[in-house]
Structures are given as C-alpha cells and as structure tokens.
C-alpha cells in the first residue's frame, strides 16, 4: 500500500507511529526517522549540494517535525508533511549560505574501483551532473528534483512549494533544457 507520496507502508503505519508518539512513545519517532532518513536525505543532498549541510538540514527538519507534530493534521500523510518541512529548510539553507559544491564518491564500489577506466568515467559523469545541477536556479533545481527524482505529482509539488502548477511545469521544462546545455558544455571543456 502506498500513500500519496508513493511511499510504501511496511510494519506500523505512519498514522500508528504518530499516535504512539503522541502518547509519549519517543521510540516510535525513531522508527519514522529511520523510515524517511535516506529518501529525504537524498533530496537534501541534491538540493543543497553539500553533504554536511544537507545532513544538518535533514536533522533539523526531523527535530522541527517532532516539535510541531501537533500541527500534523493528517498523520497518514506524515511523509508528505515532513517533505514540506524539509523543502522549506533547504530553501533557508540555500538562501543563507553560498552554495558550496563538493565532489563525493557515492558508494564503496565507486571508491574501490576508482582506478578502473569505467569507474573513473562514472565519477566524471557524477561530477558533471552535480556541477550542472548546481548551476540551476534554486527554484528550477527544486522543481526538477521533486518531479523527476522524487517522482511527485504537480499537485503535490504545488502544495509543498506554494507555486502554481503551470509555474512548476515551466520550471521543470527550463531545468531540463539547462541541464542538457550545461552537460553539453562540460563535454567540450
């Protein structure tokens, strides 16, 4: 079974965990953190571009969500509600500090095999994508990630970002065009 965010429900439902937290079961919140950490972390890393800042934003979002849990009107949609908090938190981070980009190895296999030609090529491609993403305007990057990486519907994106559907479609289109342009430029450097 999936919620409107497309997140599969396993073990206790989000609604059940939220109910337990509200009765004082702090451990139930740990289960929610474990459930959403990696997916939300991926968005934060790509949106902010710096792993440390992304993990700080993620951690802060989880804490804010816990402290605001009384305002989560529909516990069954906790994931979508949490996403909204993270989207706003990432915007704050982006506005507060100059975007810092660091190339990072994505997994142990890439690290161990970085001397092989195909691994080097993969790392170069990864770096090119990171750099192209970094060059997008924040609102374009946000729309592109929510639509194509997090696989959200435009209506859900509109609720999370406050932007209209037509504006979001335009941002996604521009993001696609610019990514293609930036990656072609990178090819010729």
């Amino acid at each position: 079974m999936s919620d409107p965010m497309g997140i599969d429900k396993v073990e206790a439902s989000d609604a059940e965990l939220v109910r337990r937290i509200r009765t004082g079961d702090i451990g139930a919140y740990g289960a929610l953190v474990a459930r959403y950490r990696d997916r939300l972390g991926r968005y934060a890393v790509h949106m902010i571009g710096d792993r440390e800042d992304a993990e700080e934003a993620l951690q802060d979002s989880f804490v804010r969500a816990y402290r605001s849990l009384a305002r989560c009107d529909d516990p069954a949609r906790f994931g979508a509600w949490l996403y909204g908090i993270l989207v706003n938190r990432c915007r704050t981070t982006g506005a507060r500090a100059a975007r810092r980009r660091r190339m990072f190895v994505h997994d142990a296999d890439a690290l161990n095999g970085a001397t092989r030609p195909e691994a080097v090529e993969r790392l170069e491609w990864t770096d090119a994508v990171d750099r192209a993403l970094a060059r997008l305007a924040p609102e374009y990057r946000e729309a592109f990630l929510l639509k194509h990486v997090e696989d959200l519907e435009y209506e859900e994106m509109s609720r999370l970002t406050g932007a209209g559907v037509s504006a979001l479609k335009m941002r996604v289109k521009r993001a696609r065009e610019q990514l293609q342009k930036f990656l072609r430029e990178a090819e010729h450097v």
């Binding site: 206790a12 509200r22 451990g27 972390g41 991926r42 989880f62 804490v63 993403l133 293609q180 990656l183």
Partner: protein, 165 residues
C-alpha cells in the same frame, strides 16, 4: 559523445535517483535532541534522567540510548523508556540491577532498527547494559561507567532523581 536531449536528461535522472548514503548518526542526533523535549501534546513536562548529557557524545555513534520518564508507577517508581538505535542488531535486551540482569525480563522491541522497552525505576542509582544478539554486552562508552561491577562486564550508570529533580 552525448546523446539526444531526452536521453541525457533521463540519464541524469537515473543518476540522481541512486541511493545516497546518509550518516546513520543522524538518527542518534535527532533522538538525542528530542529527548530533552516533552512528548508532543503531552500534558505534563517531566524531568529527565540526570545522566542524559552523555548522549551528546553517544550521538556520534550509530546507537544512542534515550531514557525518559514515561508514566508514574506505584511505590515511587516511574516508568522509563530506553531506546537503542541499532539497525544491525537481531535482538537486544535491556539488563540491569532493576531486573536482576535477566535478559528475558526486558527484551526490547524493534521498529526498523530502533529498539525500545519500558522499565520501572525507583529514585536512585541503577546499573544497566544492553545485551545485543544474545552475546554482545554493550555499555555506551560515553555513559558514566559503573566502577563497582563484580562481574567485570561493561555497564553504565543512570541516576533517577526524586520528585524535585
């Protein structure tokens, strides 16, 4: 040579959809930070165990213990919840002088790697540890260490304050 536009963008999307490894210490740091809060919508704010400051150091580990008053019991005892973030563990029991170090009396329940149990603690000093996978005796290295353990196994100390703490 790059592909057509749609191929390039689809390749970007496939790249960005790959899992990104997030420091599992995020879990511990979140749990540490919210441990100092009252439960959401909780009608009463209760004092924390005095031993909580060691959580700051524990938060850099993949595991953390959160102990907080839960409900008021009889005989001056309060119920305290212990939480251990240990995604790799197959089983965890809380053992201590409050349950005669018997792992069968306080098995911890897990939800996605977060292990929790609730025990009654009276005001005073208590020694405890976690038995992971039935064989690994674990005391948090940054917790106050029990120095008077006649069994020579690592254990930690928590101090439960009285009503005024």
């Amino acid at each position: 040579m790059f592909e057509q536009e749609d191929d390039i963008v689809e390749r970007v999307i496939r790249q960005l959809r790959r899992p990104v490894s997030i420091d599992p210490g995020v879990d511990a740091r979140v749990m540490h930070e919210i441990a100092s809060d009252a439960a959401p919508e909780s009608p009463a704010r209760r004092p924390l165990l005095r031993s909580l400051p060691w959580l700051a150091a524990a938060a850099v580990l993949a595991a953390v213990v959160v102990a907080r008053p839960w409900t008021r019991g009889g005989n001056g005892a309060d119920a305290f919840q212990f939480v251990l973030v240990a995604p790799q563990a197959a089983s965890v029991s809380l053992v201590g002088d409050f349950n005669d170090w018997d792992p069968a009396r306080s098995p911890m329940q897990t939800a996605q790697g977060v292990w929790a149990t609730v025990v009654q603690l009276t005001p005073g000093r208590h020694r405890y540890a976690f038995l992971v996978n039935g064989v690994e005796w674990r005391a948090d290295p940054s917790a106050p260490r029990a120095m008077d353990d006649e069994f020579e196994t690592p254990s930690s100390v928590v101090t439960v304050g009285g009503r005024g703490s």
